[in-house]
Assembly symmetry: C2
C-alpha cells in the first residue's frame, strides 16, 4: 500500500514558519497584506477566496477584497490594479481568472506590478520561472507540488519525472521548477503517443491531465511517487483527482489524495509568497 502524501502536514509545517515570519514583520511595523480581486460571483472563485482568506488570517496576513460586478468595465478593473500597484501596504495580488469575455486578459495581467504578482500571472513572472531566475513568482499550484515533494523528503535530482499536461498554470511551470531542481523532465499531453508506457517508466508523475481518473493502473509501476493535481467533481458531487486513486494505492510507493493533497497546499503557497514580498520591502 502506498504512503498517502497528505497536504495537511505540509500546510502545518508551512504555517509554523509563516507565523514566525509574520511576527518578525509586524515587529518592524509591516503587516503583510494580500489583495484579492474578483470580477463577478463565480462559485469556484468565492470558494477559493474563502479558503485563501482563512489561510491568511491563520498566520496574521491581512486580506483586502476588491469585488467588481460581472459587467464591470475593463478600465474599472485596470483602475483597481493601479490602486493595488501604488499601495505600499499591499504586498501581493490574487486576481481571479478567467476574466469575463469583454475584458482583455493580457492587458489586465500585464498591468499588475510583477513585484506583487504572487500568483505568477505576469510576463515577468513567466520569464522568471522559465529562466529559473528570481523574478516574480511561479503559479501556486506547481509550487505546492514542489513543497509536497520537499516536505516528504523526495529528492527529484536525477529522477525521471513525467509531467502530464502542458498548461501555463501547472504543466509548464512544474516542468521548469523540476528542471531547476535537476530532474530529467518529460512533458506529456493530449498528443502524446502511448502515454501509459512513458508514465510507467517515470520515478515521479505529476498528473495534471484535467480529466478524472485518467491515470489508471496501466500508467503506473511499483516504487513511483504520484502527485495528483487534478480537481474533478463526479456525478455524485464527489471530488476526484486525475489519478485512479484506488488502483494507484495498490501499486505505487506514494500518492497525494484528492481532496487533501495539492489543493490543500496551494493557498498556503499563496500566503507564503505574500510574506516573501513583504520581507523584501
Amino acid at each position: 500500500m502506498a504512503e498517502i502524501l497528505r497536504g495537511k502536514a505540509v500546510v502545518a509545517a508551512l504555517k509554523e514558519k509563516m507565523i514566525s515570519d509574520v511576527e518578525a514583520l509586524k515587529a518592524k511595523g509591516i503587516i503583510p497584506t494580500l489583495a484579492i480581486v474578483r470580477v463577478g460571483e463565480r462559485g469556484d472563485d468565492i470558494a477559493y477566496e474563502k479558503g485563501a482568506t482563512t489561510r491568511c488570517k491563520g498566520v496574521g496576513v491581512e486580506v483586502k477584497n476588491f469585488i467588481l460586478p460581472e459587467d464591470a468595465d475593463q478600465n474599472d478593473l485596470l483602475q483597481v490594479i493601479d490602486q493595488i500597484n501604488n499601495d505600499k501596504k499591499i504586498h501581493g495580488c490574487l486576481l481571479f481568472r478567467p476574466l469575463p469575455k469583454h475584458i482583455d486578459d493580457d492587458t489586465v495581467r500585464r498591468a499588475l506590478n510583477p513585484e506583487k504578482d504572487v500568483d505568477g500571472i505576469t510576463d515577468i513572472s513567466m520569464a522568471g520561472v522559465y529562466s529559473g531566475s528570481d523574478v516574480g513568482y511561479p503559479p501556486c499550484t506547481p509550487t505546492a507540488c514542489m513543497e509536497i515533494l520537499e516536505f516528504y523528503g523526495i529528492d527529484v535530482k536525477g529522477k525521471n519525472v513525467v509531467v502530464v499536461g502542458r498548461s501555463l498554470v501547472v504543466g509548464k511551470p512544474a516542468a521548469m521548477m523540476l528542471i531547476k531542481k535537476h530532474a530529467t523532465v518529460t512533458v506529456c499531453h493530449t498528443r502524446t503517443v502511448d502515454m501509459p508506457s512513458i508514465c510507467r517508466n517515470a520515478d515521479i508523475i505529476i498528473a495534471s491531465a484535467g480529466k478524472a481518473s485518467v491515470i489508471d493502473e496501466s500508467y503506473l509501476s511499483p516504487g513511483q511517487i504520484v502527485i495528483d493535481v487534478g480537481i474533478n467533481v463526479d456525478d455524485e458531487g464527489n471530488m476526484t483527482g486525475d489519478v485512479d486513486f484506488n488502483a494507484a494505492e495498490q501499486i505505487v510507493a506514494g500518492i497525494t489524495p484528492v481532496p487533501g493533497g495539492v489543493g490543500t497546499v496551494t493557498t498556503s503557497v499563496l500566503v507564503k509568497h505574500v510574506i516573501e514580498v513583504a520581507k523584501k520591502q
Copy 2:
C-alpha cells in the same frame, strides 16, 4: 547511411522567401534594418557579425553597426540601446553577449524594446516562447532547429523528442517550441541518470550538450533524426558537433552535419525575424 540534413538547402528556401518579402517592403518605402551591437573585439562575435551581415545584404536587409570598446561604460551601452529603441528605421537588434563583466547583463537586455528583440533576449521574449504566445522572438538557434525539421518534412507531432541541454539559448526554448508543435519532450542535462538509454528511446534528438562528440553510438538507434547544435573546435582546429558524426551516420535515419547544419541556418532566422518586425510596422 543517414540522410545528411544540410543547412544550405534550408537557407536557400528561406532566402527566396525573404527576398520577395523585402522587395514588397521596399515598395512600401520600408527598408528592413538590423542593428548589431558589439562591445569589444571578441573573435567569435566578429565572425558571427560578418556572417549575419552577409546574410542580411544577400536579401536586401540593411545593417547598422554599433561598436563599443571593451571598457565601455554601462551607460554608454544603455544609450546605444535607447537610440536603437527610438529609431523607427531600425527593426531588430542583435546584441552580442556575454557582455564584459563590469556591465550588468540583466539591466542591458531588459532595456531593449521587446518588439525589436529579434534574438530573444528580453524577459518578454522569454515569456513569449514559454507561453507559446506571439510576443517577442525565440532565440535564433532553436528556431533554426525547427526550420530544419520543417524543411525536411519531419513532423514532430506525437514524436518523442529528447533535448540534451537546458540552457536559455537552446535547450529550454527548443523544448517549448517542440511542445507547442505537439511533441512529447524530455529535457536531459548533466544530472540526468543513464542519458544513453533515454536518448535511444527518442524519435528525434536535439543535441546541445556543449561537449564535443559526447553523443556516441550508445545514445543512438535506427530510424532516429539527430539535430546537432554543438559547435566545438578540436585540437587540430576542426569544427565538430556534440554528436559523434561518423558513428551516428551509420545508425540513424537523418543527421545535421557540423559545420553546415544548424549554425548555417541561425543567421537566416535572425534576418527572417528582422523582416517580420518590419512587416508588422
